[in-house]
Symmetry: C2
Subunit: 193 residues, 2 copies
């Protein structure tokens, strides 16, 4: 066997000998890519879930049974009023027990207080104004930790008789108008005897 | 002593002898008159008390705590409305639990049901209508035995924030207007969800 042949043989053996390794390496690369994609996807899912959980935690709950809570006061906003576009109609304010007690005493609202702004369309005819369909159920829910950026109050609106949320930015949509009411714990309405 | 003198003496003795008796008789007459007057007065008082009790029994009770009852619906009656003189302003209907359950189910109201017609003045300014002073707290109290002449409902009105009763004739002042609502147990309002 010449030296050249010997070298070729060794090369050939080496080639043969390395083929499975190369294939394995190639497979590993593929697997690695799959793992990377999977890890990335799982991370995305986890992050999404975490954010979703975070969002759920900070959400204002739908105020089940609020129509049985105490009626605090009412008001009619008519065409021409600066808030007509958003709040035109008749609205009734309701409060759960915690909110009611605070409202009566004129004290700051404790966590757990919930106030409702129940807005209905009005029908005016023959010198009478009667209630129409529900437009929105506005909710203020007190939780000084969860909603610390908006005075300790969470703000939400539920469309008509549904549980569809309509407030995307509570700060600009709600809190900015309530902020000047700081001395009254950001609440406009007081209990009418 | 002549017979004549003797007779005079006897007459005199008799007279003297009878004087205390006559005085006693006179006193007895006076006492009797006093007793008769007293009995008569007591009878009058008793009869008056009985009638008063009877009246109290048939009265509609003041609805203590009604502002904590469930708000059923509201309406505004404006100038020009045929009922403006009596019911102009904003009124809220409230019901106690028995009344509310019946109102929700659309069934006849059981005894013990109480409905409130809480009428407030309104102040209209800058395209908004806000609540003013209380005008009257109207009450319908169901008791089919006590108020059988007015559909089983007792009607009363309490002036403003007082307990001064304002309904003198429930039939003409209240029931006559409610009578056509016989199919709805003489009630106009139904629970608005």
């Amino acid at each position: 066997m010449t030296k050249k042949k010997s070298v070729e043989l060794v090369k050939g053996e080496l080639m043969r000998g390395f083929t499975p390794f190369r294939e394995a390496k190639s497979k590993m690369k593929k697997n690695y890519s799959v793992i990377v994609v999977l890890v990335f996807a799982i991370s995305l899912i986890c992050t999404g879930t975490l954010f979703a959980n975070e969002k759920t935690k900070a959400e204002v709950a739908y105020p089940d049974g609020y129509r049985q809570w105490t009626h605090i006061k009412s008001m009619v906003i008519e065409k021409g009023h600066p808030l007509y576009e958003s709040f035109g109609g008749i609205h009734h304010i309701y409060g759960n027990k915690k909110a009611l007690d605070a409202s009566k005493k004129g004290k700051a609202f404790p966590d757990g207080s919930v106030l409702i702004f129940d807005l209905l369309e009005v029908k005016s005819a023959d010198n009478a104004i009667v209630e129409g369909q529900r437009k929105v159920v506005g909710v203020m829910q007190k939780n000084s930790k969860k909603f610390k950026d908006t005075g300790g109050w969470g703000f939400e609106g539920f469309k008509g008789d549904t549980k569809e949320r309509v407030v995307t930015d509570p700060k600009s949509a709600c809190f900015n108008c309530h902020e000047p009411q700081r001395q009254k714990d950001y609440v406009f309405s007081t209990y009418r005897k």
